[in-house]
Symmetry: C2
Subunit: 351 residues, 2 copies
């Protein structure tokens, strides 16, 4: 699939480029009345609430092109926005993507980013309905905005958790963070070799047995399946968020918005084998990785205690603790029965 063809972006111009990137887009959703090609996209949401979420992803801050392939980057940029819509118990329907590129990038490079975005959209039945393309003096910027729908009365906010609710997470935690550590480690090795003047350099490290944590970092999947499973099981969470900045940080947001405390059991934190192995290799505490590692894009939600029987058998959903009264604060009970206050050491894009 790799091509050496490098078409200069200025040969197409802004309108030519947008036309080129979007000409084969077919709209899938009935809510997409008019997509790319006018001053605005036109949408129709007569019976639903409209959900809107937006991100800005900066090269050197949110991603490193040394090890993040452009197609994966496009895929991830779309996916993290879909994840925010699912986290409201909604369904993503439309995506608008703004991209700015500097002179390093060719038309084919932008096509590759778009390929990733389109693949994510296909998987989640989302229509690309607009976007701005610009040049940048330095660095790549991707700013996606996702529009989705939620049923009135079934939208789940951060603020609805109540004392005695169960705290649940999907999947497992800390894997994306361990994937990032692995990539950073290999980059450091590569840079060191380069510094020492070694010849025949190639960034082709051996990732055997570590594919899962790499994929969690490079190609996260928004958990539509969990939203569907909750609906099928007739469970409406009382509060929900997606885990982008780390479990501790998100839990504290829920408790802050809901005016509650929480108690999480360390032994209940769901971990993958590769995450644990990598943490051990790096001499890191795996629970700390699970609590504070970002970019898992799993769902964190709370359910009424009365839903225990329904939720306990859900596949890939784990009950990790319970909501408590606000005055008890946010606590972690360790494997040896000690209680510690949870701290949000999540990733901060404003470093």
């Amino acid at each position: 699939m790799k091509t050496d063809k490098k078409t200069d972006i200025s040969s197409l111009g802004e309108f030519g480029l947008i036309k080129h990137l979007t000409e084969n887009i077919k709209l899938e959703n009935s809510s997409s009345v008019k997509g790319v090609g006018d001053d605005c996209a036109v949408l129709d949401y007569p019976d639903k609430h409209v959900l809107v979420t937006s991100d800005i992803l900066m090269e050197g801050i949110h991603f490193d092109l040394t090890y993040c392939p452009l197609k994966h980057l496009g895929y991830k940029a779309a996916m993290v926005n879909f994840s925010d819509v699912y986290a409201m118990n909604g369904t993503p329907r439309q995506l608008v993507v703004n991209i700015a590129v500097d002179r390093r990038f060719s038309v084919e490079d932008i096509e590759t980013i778009y390929d990733g975005i389109r693949l994510a959209c296909e998987h989640h039945h989302v229509d690309i309905v607009g976007g701005d393309t610009s040049s940048s003096l330095t660095g790549l910027v991707i700013s996606p905005t996702c529009i989705g729908e939620g049923e009135q009365g079934k939208i789940v906010y951060r603020s609805g958790a109540k004392d005695t609710d169960l705290i649940c997470v999907s999947g497992n935690l800390g894997a994306a963070y361990m994937g990032l550590q692995l990539l950073e480690q290999e980059k450091a090795v590569f840079n060191q070799q380069q510094k020492e003047g070694k010849k025949n350099l190639s960034f082709q490290p051996d990732f055997a047995g570590k594919e899962y944590i790499l994929e969690r970092q490079l190609k996260p999947e928004a958990r539509r399946d969990i939203i569907e499973a909750l609906k099928k099981a007739d469970i409406l969470p009382t509060a929900m968020m997606d885990i982008s900045d780390g479990l501790s940080s998100e839990l504290m947001h829920i408790c802050d918005s809901s005016k509650t405390g929480c108690l999480v059991y360390e032994e209940r934190l769901p971990l993958d084998y590769q995450t644990a192995t990598m943490a051990e290799h790096l001499n890191m505490n795996v629970s700390t990785c699970a609590l504070n590692g970002g970019e898992d894009y799993e769902l964190l939600f709370t359910v009424d205690l009365a839903d225990y029987d329904k939720v306990k058998n859900l596949e890939d959903v784990h009950i990790i603790g319970r909501i408590t009264k606000a005055e008890l604060g946010c606590q972690l009970e360790t494997r040896d029965g000690q209680d510690f206050e949870l701290k949000a050491q999540g990733w901060n894009p404003l470093r």
Copy 2:
């Protein structure tokens, strides 16, 4: 109003900063169900179509902080998005703003940008309902997304112009471009003085008599008044766009989408006195400035010939030509009666 206080952004962190910037926001519109503070904003548009437009503004490409004050920049970033919604015959209702800043910027700087955004929102009754804030390795990035409403059946696309329709523009053309030329000229003088090692430098040039073109460049106004006047006069344009890249470029978009040609009369191009004076000073053809100068954010629209009596008396609206059959192409008739093919020499952000 100026303060020398410079608070480091990292002292607040991402969530602290967003909270700080958005804490006093009151939602004005009934369609804004839930604003800042969850994974998504929640909107309600039961009886209207939803309009969505988005931009990405890059430092060094779209703006130059040497002469563009931060408050004006915020105001303009919001305004150009509102303009896109009006250009669909819609009403802007919500705004989401993503901002990325590098280490040069303090909390107070971002507040100043937000002040400008909020002022624009107040003038147009738009609610700020979300946004992402991040750091950048180099340069300021602003990516606003505006959501608005349009009445079903009354949304005006680019594609509806028909042969014999009248072509109209609001306001006057080329002023923002002349304002930019003036600022660039003064910047060059300043840089030259600096190069020559002059002391007591200050970027305080004399702009007396040129305030209007400066304001058109630094503080453009979206033409809600024209949309309201058209409604009051019971005129539904057949096609409409806002003029961001220059009249020629936009007219060619309308003709391309509508599969028509057009004929524009040079003598009908509306010009301001300051625009003409500045063009003469720079030895530029003022018609070329009016045809190709960008960032006017005036409205370009076509109306049925039968609406001539209604449209001719509208304040600040000018009939500049008519739509023709596609095979006649896009033509300009000069003052001396010669026809030339229109060319889009509009501003290109992908330089």
